[in-house]
């Protein structure tokens, strides 16, 4: 979509508008050929007023001086014509997200676009706001505009779309009519092309190691990203967390690791409360952590392989004494781990950033498994990793389980979760919708990932999936939304 709007340039292929090929070098060109876009992350200046944001780039002016009255009039006109009420003088950062999105839509409409791209517009909306948006989209369609609506949510596409195209991993995997059953769409979305096989024995679960109760965590924007999660991971089992990315998995893991404060609820490790512990204390208590983004959190790219292998152990014997590092011990550790984990590097002194993604990931896994673990948390353990390394990392994770560690695997790749896990928890909108066996049919898992619990009495969305929580703060819950 960024290519369509001129933010990125295509490597090959062409774009046709009204049958004629066009070259879109920048957003300006896109607007000229009648393409407007509402971005997932709003392109609004927070300290500007609604009118200022809408006119930006196409300001009505006399000799350079902005005609503010005319801009306000334009906003009123367009917002009335399409039934999208706005106060032109309100400041963006004071407005709720849904209204900000309305500003984005009006901004595109004032530019007389024929095609409107909505990039995951409902990801940030409450169910009520979502319903309003769907209504707006119907209105725009009636007014003759074309809309490309990108979403993960089946209910929404089925509600408004005239044609549905499913894209997975950069490819079109199929098209469907809105009348197609949800299970068919879910199947297309989650795919079942590659079946990952991880050889493993049946799990022998022991004592609970990680116990999470009623955990609530806020994301960076102070929204309830983790919304009352209860989970138990036992020694000797792999609990996999499946779900479309952005449903609270990141925040859940960060909170366990002490990287993000819990706003409510508790986390226990082998019976000890660790809710407020510092990350280092959590690590020292026997937790291994493979973060989801290795280039940001897992490695110091400029540091050598050897240094990265002791990144959280450097101050402990034998690597660090009171004053100085024991470089020989660090090197010996590096030699041993490189051999054990088959890290393909020219030498332990090579900067880790020079290695391939798979080898970088093996460095992290090697480091995290170099102390005896009670609990291993692996977030997206094989993202951007070659097939050979995937197998290796998976087998090490299973080996940790068999050694008696509790393992929590978070992945947005359903195949990976199913292959590794002994139990699968599906997260949706900050909640665990269900904990199921990995043998559960794909369609069922797909529906769960889309927020629909097929085991409940009817197939309509909005059926409470788990026990009702107290409903403070309207709109925070997926439950009870009416599919109109």
């Amino acid at each position: 979509m960024n290519v369509l709007y001129g933010l990125l340039q295509p490597d090959s292929g062409e774009i046709l508008v009204d049958g004629a090929p066009v070259r879109i070098k920048g957003p300006g060109d896109a607007i000229k050929v009648g393409i407007g876009m509402v971005h997932q992350h709003f392109m609004l200046v927070p300290v500007f007023s609604v009118a200022e944001n809408i006119m930006l780039g196409a300001e009505p002016a006399h000799g350079g001086f902005i005609d503010h009255g005319k801009a306000v009039k334009l906003v009123r006109e367009v917002s009335q014509r399409y039934g999208l009420p706005l106060n032109p003088d309100a400041i963006i950062e004071d407005l709720p997200i849904g209204i900000q999105q309305r500003v984005e839509i009006v901004k595109a409409l004032t530019r007389d676009v024929d095609l409107l791209i909505l990039d995951e517009p409902t990801a940030v909306l409450t169910p009520q706001e979502t319903d309003e948006l769907l209504e707006v989209m119907r209105g725009l369609k009636a007014a003759g505009k074309s809309i490309v609506f990108i979403t993960h949510k089946l209910r929404e596409v089925k509600a408004v779309a005239d044609r549905i195209t499913v894209i997975r991993r950069g490819r079109t995997v199929g098209t469907a009519e809105p009348t197609a059953p949800e299970s068919e769409l879910a199947e297309l979305m989650v795919g079942r092309s590659v079946v990952l096989e991880v050889p493993k024995e049946a799990a022998v679960p022991g004592e609970p190691v990680l116990e999470i109760a009623g955990l609530v965590v806020a994301d960076d924007r102070e929204h309830r990203a983790v919304d009352g999660v209860d989970l138990v991971v036992r020694a000797g089992e792999v609990l996999g967390i499946a779900g479309v990315q952005g449903n609270g998995q990141t925040e859940l893991v960060e909170s366990i690791m002490g990287l993000r404060p819990a706003r409510a609820g508790s986390v226990h490790l082998s019976g000890k409360p660790i809710t407020t512990w510092h990350t280092r204390e959590v690590l020292r208590a026997g937790v291994g952590y493979v973060p989801e983004d290795r280039s940001v959190d897992g490695l110091v790219k400029e540091f050598s392989v050897a240094e990265n292998l002791v990144l959280d152990l450097y101050d402990l014997p034998p690597f660090g004494g009171r004053f100085a590092l024991d470089l020989d011990a660090i090197e010996a550790q590096a030699e041993q781990k490189i051999a054990e984990f088959d890290v393909r590097t020219q030498s332990p002194h090579q900067p880790v950033g020079a290695l391939s993604g798979g080898n970088q990931q093996k460095v992290i896994v090697a480091r995290e498994m170099s102390t005896p673990l009670k609990l291993l948390i692996a977030s997206q353990p094989t993202r951007g990793v070659d097939v050979g390394s995937i197998e290796f990392i998976h087998s090490r994770i299973v080996a940790e389980r068999d050694r008696g560690a509790a393992v929590l695997v978070v992945s947005s790749e359903l195949d990976e979760v199913v292959a590794l896990a002994d139990r699968v928890a599906v997260m949706y909108r900050g909640r665990v919708l269900a904990v199921v066996s990995p043998d559960t049919p794909r369609e069922t898992l797909g529906l769960l990932m889309a927020g629909i619990d097929p085991s409940s009495s009817s197939h309509t969305p909005g059926t409470p999936a788990s026990g009702e929580q107290d409903t403070q703060g309207e709109g925070m819950s997926e439950h009870g939304e009416a599919a109109s």
Binding site: P46, E52, P96, G473, M476
Partner: protein
């Protein structure tokens, strides 16, 4: 996932010790200090505040000891009010500071062996004169940073302007051509900042500091090699014409300051007005601010982010370079090494103190100028406080202003962040 989801758990009770209350507590301490210390040290001689530019003429007298105690109490009261209510931060802080300063003046003037008279008109004029280069410098900062490029190179821009003004003013024999050259000189230095910051994505603070050192070294080199051997030929720019406005000049206190001016003083006022209007009323201004706040948003509506940033950094150089000529063409005749001596950094502080707003920067510059003028005055009446200590005053004021008094300042959101597409 909405806006109002976490309010129950996440509501944080507002702390009692707000910025206003903390400031109030500090003001109470200052007020006590003034009342007791200044009151004890002051003599019973009158301190006289004359309204004109010199010590004769109309004025009013305040008895030293009584004045020091009275105004110390004023500061104390304002501080107490601020502590108790936590409201009216600006007004009460201003009153408290004024009380403290007047109390200090009553003490200083009443014990001075030289003169018990302070000519307010002169102080006002000196304040404004000292503020002029700060105004131009901070405006250069505002223009640059509103578009998202950090400008630490104000010092270098002022210095380059001073050098170019003196050199080309002498060579061409024209004061006006010298001024033009000063502006261009500032823009040249700015161009280096622009290329490194915008094109090569170098850390903008580092580039700025390097440019300051570079400008200092280069101008000092040419000063030694070219100007000093033959001052008449290379370093003797023309005199600034003075343009008093009849009638208005005679207004007490502010008349001489504002209306007996020259191209720099009038120019600074005009520049503040023009830049304020341009930033907040024109298409260019709206786009500039958009680029400084959220460049991706500007890009998605077809605004050329980098082009606008280049333009603004260059304009900032023009403005600061023009102001730099003040040093070599108004305050003294001719250029000398490192003559800007930190004014560029005070201008930077004035920009922050003024919250990246041209008018705010203007008043912040006056604030710093006032401390400069006060230092000059206290030195002239042979204040018992060592002159080195007095000349620290503006810098101490800077630290307080930037660190404490400004409070929650919001820089342009994309300030200092290079924009890379995608």
């Amino acid at each position: 996932m909405t806006t109002s989801t976490m309010d129950v758990e996440l509501a944080v009770p507002e702390a009692y010790w707000t910025r206003a209350r903390k400031t109030g507590a500090v003001m109470i301490v200052l007020g006590l200090l003034a009342t007791i210390l200044f009151g004890a040290l002051a003599s019973s001689e009158n301190a006289r505040f004359a309204l004109g530019e010199n010590v004769s003429g109309a004025g009013f007298d305040i008895p030293g000891t009584a004045g020091a105690i009275l105004f110390g109490l004023v500061a104390l009261a304002a501080g107490a009010a601020l502590l108790v209510t936590g409201k009216h931060f600006g007004v009460l802080t201003g009153v408290a500071l004024m009380g403290f300063i007047i109390s200090a003046l009553c003490w200083q003037m009443s014990v001075s062996p030289v003169s018990h008279i302070m000519p307010l008109g002169f102080i006002a004029a000196a304040t404004f004169t000292a503020a002029i280069p700060l105004i131009f410098g901070s405006l250069g900062g505002v223009l640059c940073e509103r578009s998202g490029v950090v400008n630490v190179a104000i010092e270098g821009q002022l210095l380059t302007g001073a050098f170019f003004g003196a050199l080309f003013g002498t060579l061409t024999g024209s004061f006006w051509l010298g001024l033009l050259a000063a502006a261009i000189g500032g823009a040249l230095l700015s161009a280096i900042l622009a290329v490194f910051a915008i094109k090569y994505l170098v850390d903008q603070v580092v580039v700025g500091i390097v440019l300051n050192v570079f400008a200092g070294g280069l101008t000092a080199f040419f000063y030694e090699q070219v100007m000093r051997p033959d001052t008449d030929a290379y370093n003797f720019p023309g005199k600034v014409p003075s343009w008093p406005i009849p009638g208005l000049v005679d207004i007490p206190i502010i008349g001489p300051a504002l209306f007996n001016g020259n191209i720099f003083s009038y120019g600074s006022l005009i520049a503040v007005a023009v830049i304020t209007i341009a930033l907040f009323r024109t298409r260019w201004g709206l786009r500039t601010r958009a680029v400084g706040e959220h460049p991706a948003a500007a890009d998605t509506v077809g605004i050329r982010v980098l082009g606008l940033r280049y333009a603004n950094v260059l304009i900032a150089g023009l403005v600061a370079g023009f102001g730099g000529a003040y040093f070599s063409m108004l305050s003294t005749t001719g250029f000398s090494k490192y003559m800007v001596s930190g004014a560029g950094f005070i201008a930077l502080a004035a920009m922050i103190f003024g919250r990246w707003h041209p008018v705010g920067a203007f008043f912040a510059s006056l604030f710093f100028g006032f401390f400069g003028a006060l230092t000059g005055f206290l030195t002239s009446i042979s204040s018992p406080i060592p002159s080195q200590f007095l000349s620290m005053l503006p810098y101490v004021a800077t630290i307080f202003a930037v660190a404490g008094l400004v409070g929650r300042v919001r820089a342009p959101a994309a300030d200092g962040k290079p924009y890379v597409k995608g």
